[in-house]
Symmetry: C2
Subunit: 318 residues, 2 copies
Amino acid sequence: MVSLDDIREAHDRIRPHIRYTPVFTSRAIDELLGAKVTFKFESLQRGGSFKIRGALNAVLSLTDAAAELGVATHSSGNHGAALAIAAAIRGIPAYIVVPSNAPRVKRAAIEGYGGIVTECAPNVPAREAALDEVVRQTGAHFVPPYDDARIVAGQGTATVELLEQVPDIEQLWVPVGGGGLASGAAIAVRGIDPDVDVIAAEPSRADDAFRSLANGRIEPMRNPATIADGLRTPLGQINFDILSSHRVTVELASESAILAATRLILERMKLVVEPSGAVPLAALMETPPSRRAPRIGVIVSGGNVDLESLLYALKNAG
Amino acid sequence: MVSLDDIREAHDRIRPHIRYTPVFTSRAIDELLGAKVTFKFESLQRGGSFKIRGALNAVLSLTDAAAELGVATHSSGNHGAALAIAAAIRGIPAYIVVPSNAPRVKRAAIEGYGGIVTECAPNVPAREAALDEVVRQTGAHFVPPYDDARIVAGQGTATVELLEQVPDIEQLWVPVGGGGLASGAAIAVRGIDPDVDVIAAEPSRADDAFRSLANGRIEPMRNPATIADGLRTPLGQINFDILSSHRVTVELASESAILAATRLILERMKLVVEPSGAVPLAALMETPPSRRAPRIGVIVSGGNVDLESLLYALKNAG
């Protein structure tokens, strides 16, 4: 599947091009939760999210022959921007299929990094047809957003860094959408410090990982009406397999908690976070204190947010 | 007046209680300005601004007898919060006179840190009367927000850190309001690396430092109708004397540039900044390229902003 060695190799491969993102703490949040919580801000990563880690690992792993005609993917956001950056670093084209309802700021980011955007209708058949057509026309190599061993290994590097920065945590909380970050975290933690609990945080309104792990099979995503747009994607197969076999539990977060957590990070920590990135804090706020360890690490996945939409949502949340 | 040794002593005094704040760069902003710009984020400082440095230096400098009955000040925002934190660290009360029109979030912060708030009408006579009354009733020691040698020495520590973090800059850009941060920066730079230019950035609509340095005497602040609320204060006497005698120049920023710079930092660097903290970047954007050095340091003074007000301003700025 994917091993800690794969993650360490990925780290060596991508290290010259990524940021070793900083960790911060907040007295206010520690008091609120009765725990010492250290946040690693992948919002400060190149491209504004952890996604560059996996995309770059995939792109730099390709042989010259495989890379020559470029890479392609479908993405409503961060993975597309990350793949565009990774392709630019390798000097090859990136073709990104983007649904017509993607946030303005995310599409602009993809194009700003040199990605070639193809728009499609916002549904799975249209997306797959558009991607197939792009790959057929260009010969580009498909780099999936999360259901891929190279991606999982790359995303695991964020957890390796966090465990270097804060070696004494008892729990690691990460968001789960497709499961790339969470499955990479699970492998890194089990390899480095098996006693640390890995908790994947998910919006209640996009709870397919919760249901999938409870039922022992991939459950479909149903109408993921959450503000955490990065977590509306269904759990991937390889990601499910890893989460299932690595003692990962899932905790859920309500929409109001996601907004409150986003606001807490903005107002108290002074860092811009997209709602998806605030989901672990939201889940922590809604989890009974008995399920929170004294020392907790959190990965804040990204900060790519349309400011107007975010502030509108925060305002309406009171 | 104030020497580099005073700043170094202040640093030793306050270091256990403050954050050594991080610096970040942005490729997008470097490309925009054609320069390598390193930002030091005092928004990530305790209390959300650099003000804790001066306030803590003043509070920790007091004899036990002078400190016993507490400290008092007037402040519409960051200095009040900083003094409340500093007093809490020393275990003494802090009495803060706050104008009735102060931003909600700043008053809440002062109270959150344990400061005892007295409200006054939003004008100088009312503020002075309220402060005199508080001092008379409590016996508290007055700690001014900027026109004070202990405050200047404390604020200078931010520049000492920046010069450690980025020793090769040719210019340092800092905001100027009352002048505590800018005068501390001038002394630190002249003592450590005299070749670095110090540029104080000021809103065009609150340009008393610009006029004061041009005319060689303190000019009154006239109707400071700027969104950069932290820079509406008039330049202090000691601060004027230091800026005048340490080769500091002033560059101005329009309101639209201040909003654009605030948005750039939020969207591209993913850090929450109050408009006052974005004024140096705004001035850089409006300065002819010939006046920008290849390597620039910027101190982002704070991140205490009412999110809804900021949204409203950014929206109306288009």
